[in-house]
């Protein structure tokens, strides 16, 4: 009798299926337009907030840099954030003005930026009862990344909330906390926050285990 591919770790539990890199062609599966392929009726992509979504409309952008200082052009990123009231809108529905989930990718052109059209999230409660500063959870996949890297994006115009955020405070080095703080820019009257993600070396972004 053939055994299933799932593997027990004990009589009580199974081992989690192992992760493998998403590879250089992740786009054909999860970001069809970026691969140059036709899209389906409904795709999960980077417009998290439509124009009628409640809250401050923002664009969030960045690049991804490797340990040599070179652009990572084939990174794929997922975003998860609260709405303007600090609530997660888990039910993914493209007819709603806002979805808490979005996807983006760096591009193969010169700038190689990822971007999200969203709203600034409200504050969310930590289990301790304290408020966490507004943040967006980011999950990064790429060729050469064997298991996803998990980080958070915070906002540089929330310095008071950031200083009290119980999750940011978990990071021992104050200098490293700065790697999660996006910088506000105004471009053509629109608000944009920029966060560059450094996978390795000087200014390496903080990645979380949870």
């Amino acid at each position: 009798m053939k055994q299933p591919n799932s593997q027990p770790t004990s009589d009580l539990m199974l081992r989690e299926t192992a992760s493998q890199t998403a590879g250089p062609y992740v786009h054909i599966g999860l970001a069809l337009a970026a691969a140059g392929n036709p899209v389906r009726d409904e795709e999960i992509w980077n417009e998290m907030a439509k124009p009628d979504a409640e809250g401050e409309h923002i664009e969030v952008v960045g690049i991804v840099i490797d340990g040599n200082g070179d652009l990572v052009r084939d990174a794929f990123i997922e975003a998860w954030q609260a709405d303007a009231n600090g609530d997660y809108q888990a039910d993914y529905d493209l007819s709603k003005p806002f979805n808490s989930f979005g996807r983006t990718a760096t591009t193969f052109d010169r700038g190689s930026e990822w971007s999200l059209a969203t709203i600034k999230p409200g504050a969310v409660k930590h289990p301790s009862g304290q408020l966490m500063a507004p943040h967006i959870n980011l999950t990064l996949f790429a060729r050469g990344v064997n298991i996803q890297l998990q980080t958070r994006l915070y906002f540089d115009d929330e310095s008071e909330a950031n200083a009290q955020c119980p999750v940011l405070s978990r990071i021992e080095s104050p200098a490293r906390r700065q790697t999660l703080i996006a910088k506000r820019e105004e471009v053509d009257g629109k608000v944009r926050y920029r966060l560059d993600i450094r996978l390795q070396g000087e200014g390496e972004t903080v990645f979380f285990d949870f």
Binding site: N5, R15, T17, S19, I28, G201
Partner: protein, 243 residues
């Protein structure tokens, strides 16, 4: 809604490849050197995740034999071995995960991806796109109809080849259960030679990624079946106050 009494079994990092795995050369400059910061007390931001159960799937989204055919009137079908790939998404306690999004992508029978950056010698197949998605059913079961992908060479060692594989992406109930893996095919002699497979040190972890030929589910005179179960992190409830 409170999520304060929910948590997931801690991820056993030994069941996964390390970030730095020098045999897979691209990981060398893309792996963090600093330790991950453990959250100790994951928050609602980590314990929740998107629910795609109301997304509208196209009628052939999980049928790669039909979802890219160029001219149906000509009966155009992709080249290659017809297979059904199926399995169950469960958590570490064996609990089925219903209505969760399973996505997959793969090369064609010649080992070529429909991606603008793939310049391999093998030709594109006009009737094959190589992408599928579906939601698991009530019992956590997903199904795709496709062709068996071909192996292909890639620049790592002087002569590295990927075993035939299908990339599989599973969401699960939370961003904490998010998983991207690859299904390999039982018996493929390229599996033990692959630098990406070798990022895993534990042979049992490799076993979790090997789809099994399943003759019972194969369809006579039509297609073979491969079964690939996916296990995501187990969800725990804490029943007592932490005081």
């Amino acid at each position: 809604m409170t999520h304060d009494n929910k948590r997931f079994v801690a991820r056993d990092r030994n069941s996964h490849p390390p970030a730095y795995a020098p045999g897979y050369k691209t990981s060398v400059a893309r792996s963090p050197q600093q330790a991950l910061v453990s959250m100790q007390q994951p928050t609602v931001s980590e314990l929740t995740g998107p629910d795609f159960s109301h997304m509208r799937m196209g009628p052939h989204d999980n049928d790669l034999l039909l979802n890219f055919r160029q001219d149906a009137s000509q009966g155009g079908l992709p080249q290659g071995e017809r297979i059904m790939m199926f399995g169950r998404v469960v958590d570490q306690f064996g609990k089925p995960i219903p209505h969760t999004l399973v996505e997959m992508w793969q090369a064609n029978a010649g080992g070529r991806y429909r991606h603008k950056n793939d310049k391999y010698l093998a030709p594109l197949d006009p009737n094959f796109g190589g992408v599928g998605r579906c939601l698991t059913d009530e019992q956590g079961v997903y199904r795709f109809r496709t062709i068996k992908p071909g192996p292909y060479p890639w620049p790592n060692d002087m002569n590295s080849w990927r075993p035939a594989h299908i990339h599989v992406s599973v969401t699960g109930p939370s961003i904490s259960t998010r998983l991207i893996t690859q299904m390999y095919f039982e018996g493929d002699p390229l599996i033990p030679l692959c630098p990406i497979v070798h990022t895993l040190k534990d042979p049992l972890a490799v076993e979790t990624m090997i789809g099994r030929l399943d003759m019972a589910h194969s369809k006579p005179m039509d297609c073979l079946a491969y079964r690939f179960d996916v296990v995501v992190r187990g969800e725990l409830q804490t029943y007592f106050e932490n005081q």
